[in-house]
């Protein structure tokens, strides 16, 4: 069931997840909700791309996970940023800013 992912650039999802987790550990649905809220609904992340991204980030050691009880007393898998993930996020953000700034200058010129 293809959902619109509002032109999410390849690899950007990973960065958005990392950014979301920079504040506090979260579980899967929380992350997708947060991305949707902060982007004011521009980005809707579906499960089909979210979960492979979790697996990928975990494999690369950027996030770690643990099972914790949720507020409504279920068990959920919480992801948190690792030290490596934090560095990666910093680097990616800087890279992103230089790129967008450059693109913006080109478009405004």
């Amino acid at each position: 069931m293809p959902e619109k992912t509002a032109g999410l650039v390849q690899g950007t999802l990973d960065m958005l997840i990392l950014k979301t987790l920079a504040l506090e550990p979260m579980h899967g649905y929380g992350i997708s909700l947060r991305i949707e809220q902060i982007s004011k609904g521009v980005f809707q992340v579906n499960a089909g791309s979210l979960f492979p991204a979790f697996r990928r980030l975990e494999r690369n050691g950027l996030v770690a996970s643990e099972w914790r009880p949720t507020e409504n007393n279920r068990r959920a898998k919480y992801y948190r940023l690792t030290e490596l993930g934090r560095k990666k996020l910093k680097a990616e953000t800087r890279e992103w800013q230089t790129q967008t700034a450059a693109i913006a200058r080109i478009l405004e010129a």
Partner: protein, 885 residues
């Protein structure tokens, strides 16, 4: 670090895939519930919320699939699933599977067995430290290129002057045996005499005691010996105090100083029991050339430099012995020298057996192709469900590699047992058989050809099966599944299979013809009812009169035995036991030192030797007991063979002519020719006739050479029946002397061609398998074609075609394929059989009969293979065939 983490988490998933799967399920469920809860909180009805979330999340299974395919372990899981699926397909069609597995098992098994011979003998390094720097060294006249033996003068000068080698050593070229006495029944044991540096040059040391010390090969040194582990075990009861024990070899006491580990048998092909040190007295002449030399090059020294050094050394020796010819050196890697006689044959066998494997592969490819058409429906369904073409090809290749691996496992068993049979019953006179076995290198080779052949025979069918659109096969009716392209591939495979089989059959035809010609060679005497043995007098017989007296008495006693019609002795024995060759000069010829040496096979014989063998007398007379030759100044007499008479006395009567032997020297004594006898093969049945000189064994100069002689006994009875009598006569004269190497002449002849016989058998066996596989292939494809064409045949018959027409149609199709294959095979054979040339005896590598006969046989068999399905085609009932519509 990152790789390790990925590895570990991948492995976790693989081995605890249940847990990982459960966690993923749980996580997704949790996500679902949270999403529903959120929607409910936002005011949706629970039912409505559930439906919406289900829509948003999409197919759970495809989400899971996406997640799973993130890690590397996913491809392994896919592989395992494919293997599982493949096994199910194999179980579902046992006839197809067992046929393919069997064909592949034969191909891979035979290849593994032959490769283990090739690896052990030709490829693996010699089991000595730093063996790459071991070289075989020889001296020869200019213009020849094989290493020849060297003489004592050359060796001693070279050993003392050379700088290029760490060590150099020699062993006796005519290594053979020692007479062992003092340990029970006297017997002859295999052994070799060597120079003191023999073991240090190879870099090996005994398991017990020591090797020889430098200087132990000086004339006055006490005689010492090193024995084999086997001899130590069997003859000395593994005596732990064996060192310094004495054994009597050739009537002389030797002190045992070491025991070599099992498996060490250099320089022989067969196990040796003893190595003795040879004492080198200062030489009086340059010949005889009886030493094989080898050395261990110093690091950084090139073979060229070492050669130049030895050439210079040999040139100085030539000046010391002005009558001797100019000699130059040859150096080849020691391994190459050891295996030179078998390398071509082994490579040809490997080539032949790889052709068999190719044919097996083609066969299986054909079977798979036929199945691929049948499976197109199944495959189209999978494509329709979303499988990519690559995924389908991968799945089918997994199946074919699975087939070839099962075949390979079976083949490995086959190889193991055939190799054991080969080592037990095959020709034992091949070098380095002790290094042959199924080892790591062989296993890698087997795995490689398993996977390789699986991919090769699977690729065409897999591409064929995955080809084309999804819709055609799904809606196609039965009977029209085979595409035009598939049929073309079938035909091409059959043609190549026939061509390959013909190639092998022609090769085996050539070898068989050559072998039959070799067996038909006239050795120059009557081989039946002839017993041969070796008798060596111990060193205590050291004066010519004693030796003469011994032989005279012994031969008289043997000829007096009932059942013995003639007995003689000789230094050499046909068909391939030539002891020495000697240069000669015919009277009136001059003494040109630059003339190429003319060599004659020369041997001392007793008068009745000719009669015992049955060599025909052409002119003049044989030696007699009454010839006066035993004193120094008695006239010297010789008997020559027909080849010598033809080459050197053209148009004249050689009887009464004179010649000299030895290096050209005007002062040498003259020897008078008294008779001419027929040619006898002394250098193998396949050798060209050479000039031969016979001299009386009791002639003064030859008597000391006559201590070890071949005995030949002609008897009208079964040859072996005279053996006990012979032993009794020998024991009556000396109880310590063994009657060694007792064999009938027929056995000796058989043994002399055992390698030729064996490889002829082997290649013929391969060719038979190839023919069988090709025939099965043709039969299968034609049958399949007939089954596919049932409707067409039905239509033709309904339109009035007779059974004969149908028969003709099917047969001509098969025959066209076979003929194309034969044509291709003939072209290939013309190009390829020349590599057999060195293995063929008086048979051209393009022998017309072999080419024509095998082609006819192949075509006939192919026709027969088509006949059965053709006959079945004529039985097609048009009504039934058309009802398929």
């Amino acid at each position: 670090m990152a790789i390790l983490r990925k590895l570990v988490s991948g492995l976790k998933v693989l081995f605890r895939s249940g847990t990982a799967e459960k966690e993923l399920d749980e996580e997704l469920t949790d996500y679902f519930e949270e999403a529903v809860a959120a929607k409910v909180r936002a005011g949706a009805a629970p039912e409505q919320a559930r439906r919406e979330v289900t829509m948003e999340m999409g197919n759970m299974d495809s989400v899971k699939h996406e997640v799973r395919s993130v890690g590397w372990e996913f491809s392994i899981e896919t592989l395992l699933r494919d293997v599982h699926y493949g096994l199910r397909m194999i179980r579902k069609s046992p006839a197809f599977a067992s046929l393919s597995i069997l064909a592949i098992a034969i191909g891979i098994g035979a290849n593994t067995a032959i490769f283990s011979l090739v690896y052990g003998i030709l490829l693996s390094p010699l089991p000595y430290p730093d063996s790459k720097r071991l070289v075989a060294v020889g001296l020869h006249e200019r213009g020849e290129d094989t290493p020849h033996a060297m003489g004592v003068a050359d060796f001693l000068a070279w050993r003392d002057q050379q700088q290029s080698f760490e060590h150099v050593a020699v062993f006796s070229a005519g290594y053979g045996s020692f007479d062992l006495s003092g340990l029970g029944t006297p017997e002859t044991i295999p052994g070799v005499s060597v120079s003191a540096d023999f073991f240090s040059t190879l870099g090996v040391s005994p398991m017990l005691g020591r090797g020889f010390l430098p200087g132990e090969d000086r004339p006055q040194s006490p005689p010492v010996a090193v024995i084999s582990e086997e001899f130590w075990r069997n003859h000395l009861g593994s005596d732990p105090n064996v060192l310094n024990r004495s054994i009597t070899l050739d009537g002389r006491p030797y002190t045992i100083v070491g025991v070599m580990p099992a498996q060490f048998r250099f320089p022989a092909s067969k196990p040796l029991d003893v190595w003795t040190v040879r004492a080198f007295a200062p030489p009086v002449a340059r010949p005889p050339y009886g030493l094989r030399a080898f050395g261990h090059l110093k690091p950084g020294v090139t073979v060229q430099a070492a050669k130049a050094e030895l050439d210079a050394c040999a040139a100085r020796i030539t000046q010391q012995y002005p009558n001797s010819p100019e000699l130059v050196s040859t150096m080849v890697p020691l391994k190459q020298w050891m295996v030179q006689n078998v390398s071509t044959a082994l490579l040809v066998l490997l080539g032949a057996i790889s052709l068999v494997l190719l044919i097996a592969i083609v066969n299986v490819a054909n079977l798979l192709l036929a199945r691929a058409s049948v499976r197109r429906g199944e495959i189209a369904l999978r494509v329709a469900l979303g499988a990519s073409r690559w995924r389908i090809v991968r799945q089918l290749l997994t199946e074919s590699v699975l087939l070839s691996s099962l075949g390979g496992i079976l083949g490995l068993l086959l190889a193991y047992f055939s190799l054991r049979a080969f080592l037990a019953f095959g020709p034992g006179n091949m070098p380095r058989l002790e290094d042959v076995g199924i080892n790591g290198a062989v296993l890698i080779f087997t795995c490689a050809i398993c996977v390789g052949s699986g991919i090769v025979f699977g690729l065409a069918p897999a591409l064929e099966a995955s080809r084309g659109s999804v819709h055609d096969p799904l809606k196609a009716e039965k009977g029209n599944l085979s595409s035009q392209a598939a049929r073309r591939t079938h035909n091409a495979l059959i043609v190549s299979e026939v061509a390959l089989a013909l190639l092998l059959m022609i090769g085996s035809g050539l070898l068989i013809r050559s072998f039959l010609r070799l067996r038909d060679v006239d050795p120059g005497f009557r081989t039946d009812h002839l017993l041969t043995a070796v008798i060596a007098l111990p060193r205590s017989y050291d004066k010519p009169p004693e030796i003469r007296a011994f032989w005279k008495e012994f031969l008289a006693k043997v000829e007096a035995m009932p059942g013995v019609s003639a007995a003689g002795i000789s230094m050499s024995l046909p068909p391939n036991h030539l002891a020495i060759t000697n240069p000669f000069t015919v009277e009136g010829q001059g003494y040109d030192r630059n003339r190429k040496l003319q060599l004659a096979e020369e041997m001392a014989v007793s008068p009745d030797y000719f009669r015992a063998l049955g060599i025909p007398l052409v002119r003049g007379r044989w030696f007699t007991e009454s010839d006066k030759v035993e004193q120094d100044n008695d006239p010297m007499i010789v008997v020559i063979n027909e080849t010598m008479a033809k080459q050197y006395f053209k148009g004249q009567d050689p009887v009464g002519k004179r010649l000299q032997t030895g290096d050209p020297d005007p002062k040498a004594r003259w020897e008078t020719i008294i008779g001419v006898v027929g040619d006898v093969k002394y250098q193998g049945l396949d050798a060209a006739p050479e000039p031969t000189l016979y001299v009386p064994y009791n002639e003064n100069g030859w008597t000391l050479w006559s201590r070890g002689m071949y005995l030949v006994v002609r008897t009208p009875m079964e040859p072996q029946s005279v053996v006990p009598g012979l032993r009794a006569q020998l024991a009556s004269m000396n109880k310590d002397m063994p009657l060694a190497r007792v064999q009938t002449m027929d056995q000796l002849i058989e043994d002399s061609v055992v390698q030729e016989k064996f490889r002829t058998w082997l290649v013929s066996g391969f060719a038979t398998i190839a023919l069988l596989l090709a025939v099965i292939g043709i039969y299968a494809v034609i049958s399949y074609g007939v089954a596919q064409q049932t409707r067409e045949i039905g239509v033709r018959m309904a339109l009035g075609a007779s059974a004969a027409d149908v028969l003709k149609m099917v047969l001509s199709h098969g025959l066209r394929l076979a003929a194309a294959g034969v044509a291709l095979g003939l072209i290939g054979a013309l190009a390829v059989t020349r590599i057999l040339r060195s293995m063929l005896f008086s048979t051209s590598s393009t022998d017309f009969m072999s080419f024509v006969l095998t082609s006819v046989v192949l075509l006939a068999v192919a026709l027969l293979a088509c006949y059965i399905p053709a006959l079945r085609a004529t039985k097609v009932d048009p009504i039934v065939a058309l009802r398929y519509e």
